[in-house]
């Protein structure tokens, strides 16, 4: 009893710390690419407004990246402290992948971030742009490795099991490019782009209400709405493909997502309902006949497996998966609506007239984060009761730690995270509340920025000829 309590607390702790952590990379992956686009536009067109917007978001990027790194340190130790059996068994495979993630993040941090933050006046425009591109590429590369790790846990491949029960590598290519990895990578990177676009759109909309002539706010809002209009529909397609991939490899997860307990031909699409694992049925359901089969099998009468195909001990908890999936999809569809609505306004020539579209964009500002979290809850809870799908159970993965120890550390993490990241988020809001103005100043020098890393660039003298000092 005590052991299973300790494991449940450890699960909650992991969920809490990883949920906090994912928010910052989801934002910084998208923002890094956005910054690269802005700088590219500035170099291409020579227009000062793009540089202003670049510098405006660069300050926010610095804080978000810092919080991502800090919360990431905790993650790299938590596998060992709370999930030691998992670490021992999967270390030979997942360890090197995470090692690559650490090395690439390390390299990126040490090398290019400092140039990006402080180097514009020191290394010249082209080299600076190259650094910005490298940061964008580096955040993507980090995501590549960590999603490969996660995908391997969902769809393990390329492994053997040795005499002491460890998973050992047989084929690295199959490990890295395991079956669910390409779909997950695309889905997550698009999610990061959408998340960032919605934040940028909300900030642009907010400042349009104050001053609809502010050209920087106009550009932000316009670019963000293009992203919503183009990427949100692509994300729906990518999500559907990811779902079909899941159906192929983890049908129990899809059954939980859909709320199907019985295996039937011509399954309905349940829109709402309360999955009841005890009674093995969905209470109060609202459904559309046949549509579930059509979406999953592209055939109105296709057979869809229900949760009863698996023993109760091998099923994920349906209610959490069912609802988090609906939150994600619902928000995704709202993003599509927002994008099309903006196209209509753009067509009518009233995109910059503050109105209901802009109120909606502000309200949707955090929607990307919520959708990302809901999506991760869907896929991670849907993987239960396993950590390595079908092979290693969650209850066989945990450290031999007593419940009071785990509970104490959980309480400490909750308190500390809310204080520290609350403060960081407050500072980000402070920056966002200032309107983007002309000749925006960049990251202030002389104020140490954590993410400056071991950058030598701040020590290099600015180009005195181009920027004479007073």
């Amino acid at each position: 009893m005590d052991a299973s309590l300790a494991i449940d607390i450890a699960r909650f702790q992991f969920a809490f710390t990883v949920a906090f952590h994912i928010i910052f990379p989801a934002f910084s992956i998208g923002l890094a690419s956005y910054l690269a686009v802005l700088e590219g536009l500035w170099l291409w067109t020579g227009r000062q407004v793009y540089l202003d917007i670049f510098k405006y978001w660069l300050k926010i990027f610095a804080i978000a990246f810092a919080m991502g790194v800090v919360s990431g340190i905790v993650m790299s130790y938590q596998f060992g402290t709370n999930w030691s059996v998992f670490s021992d068994k999967t270390g030979p495979i997942l360890g090197p992948l995470m090692g690559y993630e650490v090395l690439s993040a390390f390299f990126l941090e040490a090398g290019f971030l400092g140039i990006m933050l402080f180097g514009l006046d020191r290394v010249g425009k082209k080299l600076h742009f190259a650094a910005t591109l490298m940061v964008a590429f580096g955040t993507f590369f980090s995501a590549f490795w960590i999603l490969s790790v996660n995908s391997w846990m969902q769809t393990p491949a390329g492994y053997e099991i040795n005499e002491v029960g460890q998973f050992v590598p047989a084929n690295w290519f199959e490990i890295v490019f395991n079956p669910s990895f390409p779909y997950r990578l695309v889905h997550m990177v698009l999610a990061a782009y959408l998340t960032t676009a919605l934040v940028v759109g909300a900030v642009g909309a907010w400042h349009l209400f104050r001053d609809k002539a502010n050209e920087r706010a106009r550009i932000m809002f316009s670019m963000a709405m293009w992203m919503a209009a183009i990427v949100a529909p692509i994300q729906v397609v990518a999500g559907d493909m990811h779902g079909l991939n899941t159906l192929q490899h983890q049908p129990a997860k899809v059954a939980a997502m859909e709320g199907h307990y019985d295996t039937v031909k011509g399954a309905p699409l349940i829109i709402f309902g309360l999955p009841n694992d005890e009674e093995e049925r969905v209470d109060y359901k609202v459904q559309i006949p046949g549509l579930g089969s059509y979406i999953l099998t592209h055939d109105w009468l296709g057979e869809v497996k229900g949760l009863k195909e698996w023993p109760k001990a091998d099923r994920p908890p349906a209610a959490i998966v069912f609802w988090s999936f609906r939150i994600m999809v619902g928000l995704g569809l709202l993003m599509v609506v927002l994008g099309f609505w903006s196209l209509w306004k753009r067509f009518k020539g009233t995109l910059y007239e503050p109105g209901w579209l802009h109120r909606a964009a502000i309200a949707m500002g955090p929607a990307g984060f919520v959708a990302v979290l809901a999506g991760w809850i869907t896929t991670e809870v849907g993987r239960q009761p396993y950590t390595v799908y079908g092979l290693l159970r969650t209850y066989d993965s945990a450290s031999p730690i007593d419940a009071p120890a785990v509970a104490t550390s959980l309480a400490a993490f909750v308190v500390v995270y809310f204080i520290l990241f609350g403060a960081g988020t407050y500072y980000i809001f402070q920056l966002m509340s200032k309107p983007p103005h002309t000749s925006e100043e960049g990251v202030k020098e002389g104020e140490p920025i954590r993410t400056a890393g071991t950058t030598p660039i701040a020590g290099v003298k600015p180009d005195e000829a181009a920027h004479p000092r007073e």
């Binding site: 800090v70 596998f79 030691s84 270390g91 360890g95 002491v164 031999p400 993490f413 500390v416 960081g424």
Partner: protein, 334 residues
């Protein structure tokens, strides 16, 4: 049997840990000494001496932890639960001090709060690292590839002592670093700190060294039996040399010599630990080879490490070169 990469990796991880200890050691030390500077402007200078480099310093910790998971998963899986509380506390301490670098400069009303968070976080992180070291030296219970002890096993008089020793040693590194990087009044204060932490560090090294052989027979044989003593004996001799160098460096008010001497003390203690531990990664149960991942895993990551580590090292060295020189009051780090 292919060439045993386990020892290559053991060397690399030992190097990462040493790099972490000496590099983050001095910036944690600055945090430990933070309240003992005389005013806010001195604290500004002290923080600015480490601001451009501390983050890179700390990344070695992630590399050490991540590397251990990748190439010695069994050691990672045993050590982390055994040192559960000190590790978690250390992480929390590092969180507090890490964000202080950023937040302290964004507020005047709450600046005192972030000063204390910088100091408290640094002190707790240093104490916990020392405690973790002590707990590792005194031995960890292992059964069936898992930690078999309780969650307070790490707490002993010996581990308390090593905790204090590491914190005081870091303070010495921090003080001598500030001596190197500052001028005038700040430097004067830093010299005074070094005069206190220097002798204290040496006394604590002495007590830990004398105590260690009595913890386990293996350590006793390593250090006090013939012929092993021939290999081990130079270490205490060099410690004496480093201590003398520290003394004269401080007495003659040299800039660089005290810091280098303090670094030498840490490197020598680390070598001493290596002599005690080898060939175990978790004494007295798990050897380097027991804990290693299969050859294929070691090789896969080694390729990346062989390319990126030299780049990172070169870059780090260049960064320290660019940021050479003194920080004066009212200046940032440029």
């Amino acid at each position: 049997m292919p060439f045993d990469l386990a020892f290559v990796w053991a060397g690399l991880i030992a190097f990462a840990v040493l790099a972490y200890v000496v590099l983050d050691g001095f910036d944690l030390g600055v945090g430990i000494l933070f309240p003992f500077f005389e005013n806010t402007r001195q604290r500004d200078v002290a923080m600015n001496t480490v601001a451009p480099v501390w983050d890179g310093n700390e990344t070695w910790l992630i590399l050490g932890g991540g590397g251990l998971f990748a190439v010695f998963p069994l050691a990672y899986a045993v050590v982390m639960p055994a040192l559960y509380m000190p590790i978690i506390l250390m992480l929390l301490g590092l969180l507090f001090r890490g964000v202080s670098f950023e937040y302290r400069w964004r507020t005047t009303r709450w600046q005192k709060l972030w000063d204390w968070s910088f100091h408290g976080g640094s002190l707790i992180a240093a104490l916990c690292q020392g405690i973790a070291l002590g707990a590792l030296i005194q031995g960890i219970d292992v059964e069936n590839r898992a930690y078999a002890g309780g969650w307070w096993d790490w707490l002993t008089p010996f581990s308390m002592l090593t905790g204090v020793a590491v914190a005081v040693g870091y303070a010495l590194l921090g003080a001598t670093w500030v001596v190197l990087k500052s001028t005038d009044r700040v430097q004067h204060v830093a010299y005074r700190m070094a005069w206190i932490t220097g002798p204290a560090t040496l006394v604590l090294i002495g007590i830990v060294s004398l105590w260690t052989p009595f913890l386990d027979r293996v350590y006793m044989e390593r250090w006090l039996a013939f012929p092993a003593i021939l290999y081990a004996a130079p270490v205490p001799i060099f410690v004496t040399v480093a201590a003398a160098s520290l003394y004269f460096g401080l007495k003659k008010k040299r800039d660089l010599q005290p810091f280098l001497s303090a670094l030498a003390l840490f490197v020598l203690c680390f070598i001493g630990l290596g002599i005690s531990f080898y060939p175990y990664i978790i004494p007295p149960e798990i050897s380097i080879q027991d804990a290693a991942a299969p050859h294929s895993s070691l090789l896969f990551l080694l390729v990346g490490a062989a390319v990126l580590l030299p780049l990172i090292l070169g870059y780090t060295a260049y960064a320290y070169w660019v940021f050479r020189g003194k920080i004066r009051e009212g200046e940032g780090y440029h």
